[in-house]
């Protein structure tokens, strides 16, 4: 049986499950897996502040993306615009309830809950309060992570625009830019925010040891 504090010195790569012994890093250094070059862990003292700022920005773009029109088209004088509300109205009209429900979760509920819980998590970890809540949020975020599909929705927007290119005049809405912005922020946040670091920081902030 291995002692727990010895287990803490080990890390397993998320991609190839190779076991490594952690080496201490200095500021802004990163450790990668020897087998598959995946990032294992990193050292970034400013992680909380940076991520908090990014999450707030992403929240604002999310608000814009959800409330304004994404694409406006014009076919020989006939106009139509794609907004989130029109999307659900049309789906309900065609009685596509299962697709509508999946859309509701994938495009609306999951992105909102991911951003909101990341914000609450970072905020409380920064001021060092509510240890139980932050722990639950860390677990919740790990469950939500695979269901984030903003990037795929954006690619789908591009594909449908190319399909409509010949028959319609396409005008990009404000929400389209907001979606693009959200996508970029999402990539930066995922790159910045390492859950491995967050768990270590969690233990540090609330002053308990894994023993």
């Amino acid at each position: 049986m291995i002692k727990e504090h010895e287990l803490d010195k080990l890390i397993i790569c998320k991609k190839c499950h190779t076991l490594y012994e952690k080496v201490p890093l200095t500021k802004n250094e990163k450790a990668f897996c020897n087998e598959c070059n995946v990032l294992l862990y990193q050292q970034d003292a400013d992680m909380l502040n940076k991520s908090l700022a990014l999450v707030i920005t992403a929240g604002i773009s999310l608000f814009i993306a959800f409330n304004f029109s994404i694409i406006n088209i014009n076919i020989q004088g006939l106009e139509q615009s794609l907004t989130l509300t029109s999307l659900f109205m049309v789906l309900a009209e065609h009685e596509q309830y299962v697709v509508g429900l999946l859309f509701l979760f994938i495009i609306v509920i999951f992105p909102i809950s991911i951003l909101l819980s990341t914000f609450v998590l970072l905020f409380f970890m920064k001021i060092g309060k509510a240890p139980y809540l932050t722990k639950r949020l860390l677990i919740l975020l790990a469950h939500l992570k695979p269901w984030n599909m903003v990037d795929i929705f954006f690619i789908s927007l591009l594909v449908s625009m190319v399909k409509l290119f010949d028959i319609a005049n396409i005008e990009l809405g404000i929400a389209f830019v907001a979606f693009l912005f959200m996508l970029i922020l999402d990539i930066i946040i995922t790159k910045n925010l390492s859950f491995h670091e967050l768990w270590l920081l969690h233990a540090q902030t609330y002053g308990y040891k894994d023993e």
Binding site: I2, E4, L7, D8, L10, I11, I12, K14, K15, C16, H17, T18, L19, Y20, E21, V23, N28, E29, K30, A31, F32, C33, N34, E35, C36, Y41, I71, I73, Q80, L82, L87, V90, L91, H94, Q96, V98, V99, L102, F103, I106, K135, L138, I139, A142, H143, P146, W147, M149, I152, S156, L157, V159, S160, V162, K163, L164, A168, F195, W199, D210
Partner: protein, 209 residues
């Protein structure tokens, strides 16, 4: 140190000692799935559901165009062929990869992982871990086709001409959902368990700044 009994918690990423006494992760107290058979059966059940759903997803029309009272329907494959004939090769390729190649690849990968967890093979557990990781990460990309159909049906919504999603859209969306569940319920210990020759290496992490 016996490396074979160390597992990674799928929630908080910490290293755990895999023993019969505790089924909880020592850091986040999530249940590290106790029974491997349960994980195997769940993965298999979700996989079968997804494969069954893939049949109507291909047979029924995914897109119905109603033009001045006339209905024309197109299935996934029909749509790809139509796009190819029209000359929009990149779009045809994207749809082909997203809605044909990715789902089939996922079915094959999960089936392969399930079979090799029961029978001893020569494939290394390192490769299988990588395969599982690929399976998990390509999962949501097959949603592209459903998204496109829904976006088109919202935009082309006039009195004269309408596009709306057919039965296959529902079947396809559910198929993606179940393949994702299938990949997520696959326990990594199913990979390691039957390979007695462990591939774990003990070494220092590569340093780079």
């Amino acid at each position: 140190m016996n490396n074979e009994h160390l597992i990674r918690c799928h929630i908080c990423e910490t290293v755990n000692y895999d023993n019969a006494l505790t089924s909880e992760c020592r850091r986040c107290h999530t249940k590290i799935r106790a029974s491997l058979r349960c994980s195997y059966n769940k993965t298999l059940a979700f996989l079968i559901t997804a494969i069954i759903l893939y049949i109507p997803a291909n047979l029924y029309p995914i897109l119905i165009t109603k033009q001045f009272g006339m209905n024309s329907e197109s299935t996934i494959l029909g749509g790809i062929i139509h796009l190819w004939e029209l000359g929009s090769y990149p779009i045809a390729l994207i749809i082909l990869v997203a809605s044909v190649v990715v789902p089939l690849l996922k079915f094959l990968l999960i089936t392969y992982l399930l079979i090799t967890s029961k029978h001893q093979t020569h494939s290394s557990s390192l490769d299988k871990h990588k395969l599982l990781y690929i399976t998990e990460s390509i999962g949501p990309w097959s949603m592209v086709d459903v998204f496109v159909v829904v976006i088109l049906s919202v935009l082309i919504h006039f009195s004269g001409i309408q596009i709306y999603p057919g039965t296959a859209a529902t079947a396809f969306a559910l198929m993606v959902f179940f393949t994702m569940l299938s990949a997520l319920s696959f326990d990594t210990r199913l990979i390691v368990n039957h390979n007695k020759k462990s591939n774990y290496k003990k070494g220092k992490a590569l340093h780079a700044s």
